[in-house]
């Protein structure tokens, strides 16, 4: 398997684990040195935070919607007040580490 988990299955209980996900870039927003990616696979969507140098290193600087990617990183719960009740994975977001 090219992944350890499916995006839509991550929950607060996974917090602190290192996981590898695969899927498609559903959305990208840049916020001064950090990119927020919505990573979509068949199971759902998870929000990924990636610092610019991690994007750069993975050849993902020009990452656009519907690029197919593999991302390894640690699962973190979102900061207080940022939880997204609309997503089953809305309490989580992965920190991106490499491609």
């Amino acid at each position: 398997m090219l992944r350890t988990h499916e995006a839509g299955t991550l929950r607060a209980a996974h917090s602190g684990q290192t996981v590898t996900l695969t899927g498609w870039v559903a959305k990208r927003r840049d916020h001064g040195g950090v990119a927020f990616l919505d990573l979509r696979d068949a199971s759902g969507v998870v929000q990924v935070v990636a610092r610019d140098e991690v994007l750069e290193q993975g050849g993902g600087h020009d990452l656009r919607n519907e690029y197919c990617v593999r991302i390894t990183g640690d699962v973190r719960t979102r900061p207080e007040g940022n939880a997204n009740a609309d997503l089953p994975t809305g309490e989580d977001r992965g920190g991106r580490r490499g491609p």
Partner: protein, 501 residues
């Protein structure tokens, strides 16, 4: 029970044959009255088992969140190794649909569509010349997965096989043995070895390196041992020559190991003394055995010995009743010389010297990624076949998901960019939109059902099969159509000439 009331719901006309286990009529009559044939217990049971086979596979796949998806059967003609059945398009006279040889391209498109896990019990169509026990339409369990590697597909394939054989009370030990293609060819002379018995091919090329016997001064010399074969009468040994000639060989050299250990037969006296004295030990023969040899180019020689090996098992009763052998054959070559494909009755795709062994979308193994186009003959593929009792019952591969690699493969096959675009533009276009790494497998459903039923032929596990030549004795298909149908269908429409460049 004791009848209290009896009512005739319907009467029966005189029967064309008796409905019991004894088969007294020819297959043509059985197929013409297949609905009566299926009232016989074994024939009916085979069809019922097939339904259970479908259900068992679906249960395994549902357990892994697979999505069952139907793909079109009226589609575009794409070369896939055999001839297409074509269907006239009434609304655009001169244009034709093709019936799919497999859902290959659609299942790859479904991976681009993000389905991740697809399967279908799919009807496929190939317009081939008559070959033993083939049907023009047949069924595959067709599977494709995204974000997987070869081992993931093999594990799933084994889980399915275990579930199917459990239906007949057989436990298949897993993981299944794995042979490389090269090993299978060297040891068994075939890419679908039957390992229910021994009698493996013995490599003798080095053993005869300095032989005075001209026939054995060859690129390859191999042997296979027939236990107890030394007592075969001359007539039987002559028949083996015929056996070899039917397979395109000049003959079949043999040495008889007499009971006193001396070597007999016409070949023995041509060998050097040292060759004679060590021969039985080298090939593992004991007194009373016959040693068959093939010499020449490795590929045809091994194929001949592989056929001899099977025939030895058949004649000698070497295969234990009710025994099963399941295994994987891995690492098949990516390409074969186009001439070999045509000789095997396939359609070579592209005009190059090389054509794909599996199909054009099979990925080279990682270690051949840089060299497969400069040295096509040595490149191996992420391709795998599941073999059961000497039958290829499933096969698949990890696919190419990158457009640049796909284009290099097409180039080796002699498909120009324009030709590739014309044939596969929809797939190449799709690959431009973040196609995921993917791979799959297809199981030969008719063959698997026949093996599970203990049926001789796949015709026994198909409710309404065709007989030889693709004829259906029940409905009389294929049949002429009326002039009116012909006109409407546009069969005779002259294609509009393509605008010349």
């Amino acid at each position: 029970m004791v009848a209290a009331v009896l009512e005739v719901l319907n009467s029966a006309a005189p029967l064309p044959f008796q409905i019991d286990e004894r088969v007294t009529v020819g297959e043509e009559a059985r197929l013409k009255y297949r609905y009566l044939d299926l009232r016989r217990p074994a024939q009916g049971a085979a069809i019922r088992l097939r339904s259970k086979v479908n259900a068992a596979a679906r249960a395994v796949l549902a357990g892994h969140d697979f999505v069952e998806i139907e793909t079109p059967t009226l589609t575009r003609s794409t070369p896939e190794g055999a001839r297409d059945f074509v269907v006239p398009a009434r609304l655009t006279p001169g244009s034709w649909y093709a019936l799919p040889q497999s859902p290959q391209l659609f299942k790859q498109l479904l991976m681009v569509a993000g389905m991740e896990r697809y399967y279908q019990i799919a009807r496929c169509y190939r317009d081939e010349d008559f070959r033993a026990d083939r049907q023009p339409e047949f069924t595959q369990l067709d599977i494709e997965m995204s974000f997987v590697e070869q081992d993931d597909i093999l594990a799933l394939g084994e889980e399915i096989a275990v579930a199917l054989w459990k239906l007949i009370g057989v436990d298949i030990p897993t993981p299944l043995p794995r042979l490389t293609y090269a090993e299978a060819m060297a040891r068994f002379g075939t890419d679908k070895p039957d390992t229910r018995f021994g009698q493996e091919l013995v490599e003798c090329t080095a053993y005869f390196a300095d032989t005075p016997f001209r026939v054995f001064q060859a690129d390859y010399v191999g042997a296979v041992v027939m236990p107890g074969g030394a007592s075969q009468p001359r007539k039987t040994l002559d028949a083996w020559q015929e056996f070899a000639k039917q397979r395109g060989a000049r003959g079949l050299a043999y040495v008889l190991v007499q009971e006193d250990g001396e070597l007999g037969g016409p070949v023995a006296k041509n060998l050097a003394d040292a060759e004679r004295s060590g021969l039985a030990a080298h090939v593992g023969a004991t007194p009373g055995d016959c040693i068959f040899f093939a010499a020449g180019a490795a590929k045809p020689s091994r194929a001949l010995l592989g056929a001899v090996r099977l025939e030895i098992a058949k004649r000698g009763g070497l295969i234990a009743e009710g025994s099963w052998s399941h295994l994987w054959v891995l690492d098949a070559p990516l390409f074969e010389p186009a001439g070999d494909a045509v000789a095997a009755g396939d359609v070579a795709v592209g005009s190059g010297a090389w054509t794909a062994v599996h199909h054009a979308f099979t990925s080279p193994k990682a270690e051949f990624m840089d060299t497969f186009d400069t040295d096509p003959g040595s490149a191996l593929a992420y391709a795998y076949d599941m073999v059961c009792n000497g039958n290829e019952i499933g096969g698949g591969s990890i696919r190419i998901h990158r457009r640049d690699i796909q284009e290099r493969v097409f180039a080796v096959m002699g498909l120009s960019e324009a030709e590739a675009r014309e044939k596969f533009h929809f797939l190449l276009d799709a690959f431009a939109f973040g196609a995921p790494p993917h791979g799959g497998i297809a199981f030969g459903w008719d063959r698997i059902c026949a093996l599970l039923s203990g049926a001789e032929s796949i015709r026994d596990v198909i409710a309404f099969p065709k007989s030889g030549g693709g004829y259906d004795p029940l409905t009389g298909a294929p049949a002429p159509i009326t002039a009116q149908q012909r006109k409407e269908a546009g069969v005779d429409a002259k294609p509009v000439a393509a605008p010349s460049a």
